[in-house]
């Protein structure tokens, strides 16, 4: 009885998981990007960084009008001042991020083989603070979003370049993020892919669903809905709530894995943060 059950299960697994079988991140990436290039012909890879504004003319015009007076400008200025203000111990963020002015956003998130952790930009901002005796900032908005906005702004134009080292822990984080993206959740029983892949470009009430390709390039973002800046994890929390799923904590392992997967999938797209979105 057990043997036939095992055989049946393994057949089921082999049949039901074509993606997971012998897929590598590289082949996933190729498949992912090709899907969107085909779904939205005429949109260049770089343009996907502009989300809905790359695929809808009317929205793009409104976005261009808003960009005349970019709503994230004050955040960049604030981030600039915060970044250069020394800590109580005399050190500053420049000591933790020596290449900040040249652009570093494109390398995040990365897998730290020493600690076995996915490192995000916001995560390292707070690590820098704690290392230098300062209180960590809240993860979703406020000062951390301003500092992140400044760092993103300095990295504009640099192509996203997330690496997945040949390390089973890195692969596990990637797979965890990938699983989150494709798994249904919440009372509405929707996965990220249901909206941002399968239904991308279609309407959901008054909004148009953005393609997942290009999602992380323009974060942190000024969202008209928030009337404020927010980090990528602030948005993840909102997205989970929108499908009536209990959200994870910002900068939790789950969201870091999701950011790792999502950003890797957008490799090659230039950083265009901070962005302005509806």
């Amino acid at each position: 009885m057990r043997k036939s059950l095992m055989i049946a299960l393994s057949l089921l697994a082999a049949g039901a998981a074509p993606m997971a079988a012998q897929a590598s991140p590289e082949s996933d990436l190729k498949q992912f990007q090709e899907y969107f290039m085909k779904r939205f012909p005429g949109v260049s890879l770089a343009e996907f960084g502009n989300g809905v504004y790359a695929i809808d003319k009317a929205s793009r015009e409104q976005w261009k009008a808003i960009e005349e007076f970019p709503p994230y400008e004050t955040a960049i200025d604030e981030g600039d001042s915060l970044f250069h203000k020394p800590f109580a111990n005399g050190k500053s963020y420049s000591d933790c991020f020596p290449n900040a002015e040249k652009g570093i956003r494109q390398n995040y998130p990365y897998f730290d083989t020493k600690t076995g952790q996915v490192k995000t930009l916001e995560g390292e901002i707070n690590e820098c603070r704690v290392k230098n005796g300062e209180e960590p900032l809240k993860w979703e908005k406020g000062k951390i979003a301003s500092i992140s906005a400044y760092l993103a702004y300095k990295s504009r134009g640099k192509k996203l370049n997330v690496k997945i080292p040949n390390d089973p822990r890195a692969m596990a984080a990637y797979e965890r993020g990938k699983h989150h993206f494709y798994a249904k959740r919440g009372q509405l029983n929707l996965s990220c892919a249901n909206c941002h892949q399968d239904s991308s470009g279609m309407h959901i009430r008054a909004d148009i669903l953005s393609p997942a390709l290009g999602h992380p390039s323009h974060f942190p973002v000024y969202r008209s809905k928030w009337g404020d800046m927010g980090t990528l994890h602030r948005r993840y929390v909102g997205c989970n709530k929108q499908v009536r799923a209990k959200p994870f904590k910002p900068q939790s392992d789950e969201y870091k894995a999701l950011e790792y997967f999502e950003t890797y999938m957008s490799n090659g797209i230039p950083v265009n943060g901070p962005g302005a979105r509806k």
Binding site: E68, F69, E73, T74
Partner: protein
Amino acid sequence: MAKGIKVRAKVQDGVATIKSLMSHPMETGGRKDKKTGEPIPAHFIQEVTAEINGKNVLTGYWSGGVSKNPYLSFKVKGAKAGDKLKLAWVDNKGESDSIEETIS
């Protein structure tokens, strides 16, 4: 970048398009402070004026019905590159702000 008023003024085919963004809380007077429960007093722009080369081209009478950080865009026929634009507002508390810009 200074707060206050941001403005862009450009001429195309004999028509100047002026876009501006004004920093102002535009409180209606109907909101209450979340923590204390006290009503937040009304504080909004009452009059906004635009002048080109010293001559008035637009006067707006606003109320609390206009949202925070109002965006104002208007077109002026016959304005030329090099003309001086002055945009100013006065609010219900008597505070005011203005900006001068050369139309390009």
